[in-house]
């Protein structure tokens, strides 16, 4: 298929950016979206032009590195997948595809389609862990956990930290990301000990870094490649409130 790619180009964080149109021909519908960009870059390199910078690594939907805003949606038109799992069969011959980086103040553009998501690491460093050191822990089966709770914790823990939730939110809120981690630990006995401090520290850090508030549009859940549920936000709000009043 032949396509027109309208891609955001920006040389550096403080440089002005603009859309540049790139026509591309003979793309197989079996190719993945990122393979299509590889082909474009190989053509740009052959012409001596600067290839388009974009983040990607595992290319199987788990590392959370890829982060493209395609035709107005994080990770493109399909639900429950990352950009690297998107295939060209999802598009039609002659389509114009608009490709942008995540746009949110706490995620500054590094170059072209690549953004800096250090803010997510900082939120985890504020309290997204159980304070146990290596060694001296009880036997794994000494802590029985209800299957239902373990499953819910696993649902929350499957977050890949890609930032699609922030990119999808009109307020650039990180509530879905933060609540997924808070929920995982709130649902497990191992996490209960520090639950109160954890939720307060992580929320304070999130606010500090300039992420917006949640206004319940649920765009985050709709765009999350791992289908993390907004019920985690409700659980975090409850945890937060209980921590504040107790």
């Amino acid at each position: 298929m032949d396509l027109k790619l309208k891609i955001w180009r920006q040389a550096a964080q403080d440089a002005p950016g603009k859309f540049v149109m790139y026509p591309i021909q003979n793309i197989s519908s079996e190719a993945s979206f990122l393979e299509m960009l590889d082909i474009l870059n190989e053509q740009l390199v052959a012409k001596g032009e600067d290839p388009v910078a974009f983040d990607h690594d595992c290319r199987e939907g788990i590392c959370g590195m890829c982060s493209l805003f395609i035709n107005g949606k994080p990770h493109g038109p399909d639900a429950a997948i990352t950009t690297c799992q998107l295939h060209m069969r999802r598009f039609n011959d002659g389509d114009t595809i608009v490709i942008e980086p995540w746009r949110a103040k706490p995620f500054p553009v590094i170059k072209d389609l690549m953004v800096d998501r250090t803010a997510f690491d900082e939120i985890i460093q504020a309290g997204g862990f159980v304070s146990v050191n290596t060694g001296g822990v009880p036997d794994a089966n000494a802590i029985p956990i209800k299957k239902r709770n373990a499953d819910l914790a696993m649902d929350a823990a499957s977050c890949i930290g890609c930032g699609a939730c922030v990119a999808a939110c009109k307020n650039a809120s990180a509530m879905l990301f933060v609540s997924a981690k808070v929920s995982q630990f709130a649902l497990l006995p191992q996490g209960k000990v520090e639950a109160k401090e954890r939720v307060q520290k992580m929320v304070a850090k999130m606010d500090d870094l300039g992420f917006g508030n949640c206004t319940n549009t649920y765009a985050c859940e709709a765009e999350c490649p791992k289908e993390i549920s907004v019920t985690n936000i409700a659980r975090m709000n409850r945890e937060f409130l209980c921590a504040k009043v107790s």
Partner: protein
């Protein structure tokens, strides 16, 4: 010859690690603060080691190539992690896990290392549970297990099809805790380009900041490399795009030995190759072989019709299907080890029974499992894998059998290390897939996660400390010293040389050709003639690279093509060493199958008399052949047998 002292502690096998720890040197807490440690890589081995060393009080600097330590490629491991807990009461023990791992590795791993691995496996599970890793559980609230290839017991702990992700996020959370305490300092989007030695000891690294393009110098009392494997030498593999062999290769060129480079694992259950623009291969977890049955059409004409798209697999009658693993290996059936399953698939496809448009695929069929257990059970077990498959192939695996084919997945070879995981360069430690130590010629499923975390949480924090006790009076290093100056200059010259070529060929186009040479001659089956051809072709391709590669852009700032060119330059040397090693090893063992050495039934034929050793290659200079050193392997606690998966 370099002295290859594996430093295996005295005493009976089961006591060695205990004895080691009882007698090792320790560093007191006040002195630990004075000692700097560099950790390169934040996967299971690097992340866990950095966190644990930070907890102990060392000053840790940790480096990762991605934008966050949470994205290291350990995250992509799907199936699970082995441990000898024997929770299912099915007869498992530390000895049995040790035995299965040595046997699975076709008797080419070091006994004492593997025993220690099996010994600490149980602690890993305890540790991960304490961190809040949400492993799968039974209704009674206790942990669930599944079985994996090469074992007769269920000893694999898992978190859906995302076990690697959950274990890595556990290590990442521990690392984050230490970063917030200030004991670990994190450097992201950095790539190690060289190792700095001062007076023969590893004292630092040169990294390139991938955003600014600047070269940086970092000094420490010891360096740990945990940068994963070199499977991307094949261009197409299940590894992540940035996974590369450069840190290990640079260590080799600075004097560390490289062990068993030809031992590469080909994973039997990957999604088949589909086009020449393809950038990577996707793995389908081995756990699928628990319930899926592997088959090809018995009749060649059926296979041909399927290849042309004239016949659907669902209409082929039961008696016309060849469940070739169950036929050849009745005891283990679909759960034979990876090397055996891969070769059997290749054998069937080469014989003309392969399916898919290329004829290079076999079926993995869940029809019987769905009939026996119901669709919802299969969905609960493998739902995310089925979804992934459908997205890529555009077929529903609940209705049509999956198509799979072997692909490069893991490298058992790596930097040679002793029992302490220290290389032949004092102060340079190597952990996880980057070292060679535990899997011999073939790794069993769910053992990579076990080894990464074993090295990171429970081995390196002890052994590195043992070797840092005499460093407490060594002051911090100045990165303006002549050694740092010189090493950085050499890196800069390498970069300048790449830009100076100004040729016509893109990096990927040359990498793809290297991949084809490797796959054709140094892949699933090898022979002397092919290997000699590969060595010749790699040499020619390397020459072509250095005279005709095109690296566009600037030296400063981000330059992805330059990054790829630097990695490929190293792969073009490493690939040749792999072929040399494969050519030298005149036997078949594990993943290394030499066509000249097979039984009448087509099974691998080992030569224990002449090849029961670790080949450890030593760099002699760019214009000289590397030298082969041999570490003999001694089995005192295990009876060496021909591997047999036909009967129990």
């Amino acid at each position: 010859m370099t002295n290859l002292d594996s430093k295996i502690p005295e005493g009976p096998l089961a006591q060695k690690w205990t004895n080691y720890k009882a007698k090792q040197n320790l560093v007191n807490p006040a002195n630990k603060r004075k000692i700097d440690v560099i950790v390169v890589g934040t996967g299971l081995a690097g992340g866990a080691a950095a966190a644990s060393l930070g907890e102990l009080g060392f000053n840790v600097k940790v480096f990762c190539i991605q934008d966050s330590p949470r994205r290291a490629h350990s995250i992509a491991a799907q199936g699970g992690i082995n441990a000898a807990k024997n929770y299912p009461n099915d007869g498992d023990s530390i000895y049995r896990l040790f035995y299965d791992t040595v046997k699975g590795g076709d008797y080419r791993a070091r006994e004492a290392n593997v025993y220690r691995l099996a010994e600490v496996s149980n602690e890993i599970i305890d540790q991960c549970v304490a961190q809040g890793v949400p492993f799968a559980r039974e209704y009674g609230g206790l942990l669930d297990n599944r079985s994996f290839g090469g074992a007769l017991v269920s000893r694999t702990f898992y978190a859906r099809g995302q076990t690697g992700q959950q274990l890595l996020l556990g290590a990442y959370s521990s690392l984050s805790k230490e970063i917030s305490k200030g004991s670990v300092k994190l450097y992201t989007r950095r790539e190690m380009l060289d190792l700095v030695k001062v007076d023969g000891r590893a004292r630092g690294i040169i990294v390139r900041n991938l955003v600014t393009g600047e070269l940086e110098r970092h000094a420490a009392h010891a360096v740990l490399i945990a940068t994963g494997g070199y499977g991307n030498v094949f261009f197409l593999s299940t590894n992540a795009m940035t996974s590369n062999g450069s840190a290990a290769w640079r260590a080799f060129k600075r004097g560390a030995l490289f062990a068993d480079p030809s031992f590469v694992q080909i994973h039997p259950t990957c999604i088949p190759v589909h086009g020449d623009y393809q950038s990577k291969l996707t793995l389908m977890s081995e756990s699928l072989r628990n319930d899926g049955r592997i088959w090809v059409p018995k009749k060649k004409e059926d296979a041909e019709k399927i290849q042309k798209g004239e016949l659907k697999p669902t209409v082929i009658a039961e008696e016309d299907r060849d469940y070739y693993l169950e036929r050849r290996y009745p005891a283990f059936g679909n759960l034979v080890p990876r090397d055996v399953a891969s070769r059997a698939a290749k054998e069937r496809c080469d014989a003309g029974h392969g399916v898919g448009s290329t004829g290079l695929a076999v079926y993995l069929d869940f029809k019987d499992a769905i009939k026996r257990l119901g669709k919802n059970v299969i969905e609960a077990r493998y739902g995310n894998l089925f979804q992934m498959y459908e997205k890529i192939v555009d077929e529903n695996p609940y209705e049509t059998p999956m198509m799979i084919y072997p692909a490069i997945h893991y490298t058992m070879g790596g930097v040679w290390v002793d029992y302490e995981l220290q290389s032949t360069i004092p102060g340079l430690f190597v952990g996880g897939e980057a070292n060679f130590s535990d899997h011999g010629a073939n790794r069993l499923g769910a053992s990579a996660l076990m080894q990464g975390l074993s090295d990171g949480y429970f081995v390196l924090p002890y052994t590195m400390q043992n070797n840092l006790a005499d460093q407490i009076n060594v002051p911090r290093f100045d990165t303006n010293s002549p050694e740092f100056e010189k090493t950085e200059k050499e890196v800069q010259e390498r970069i300048d040389k790449l830009f100076a070529v100004k040729g016509k060929k893109t990096v990927d186009s040359i990498h793809r050709r290297l991949g084809l040479i490797m796959w054709d001659h140094v892949g699933m089956s090898r022979n002397a003639e092919g290997l000699k051809k590969a060595i010749k072709e790699i040499k020619e391709l390397r020459k072509e690279f250095w005279t005709d590669v095109k690296v566009p852009g600037e030296k400063t700032g981000m330059n992805v093509e330059l990054e790829k060119a630097l990695r490929l330059a190293d792969f073009l040397e490493l690939g040749e060493l792999m072929a040399m090693d494969a050519l030298d090893r005149n036997e078949s063992c594990g993943g290394h199958f030499r066509e000249e050495y097979q039984t009448e039934e087509g099974e691998a034929m080992r030569d224990d008399k002449n090849f029961m050793f670790v080949s450890a290659w030593e760099y002699q200079g760019d214009d000289k052949e590397p030298k082969l050193n041999k570490e003999p392997l001694v089995y005192e606690n295990i009876e060496v047998k021909q591997r047999n998966y036909k009967t129990a």
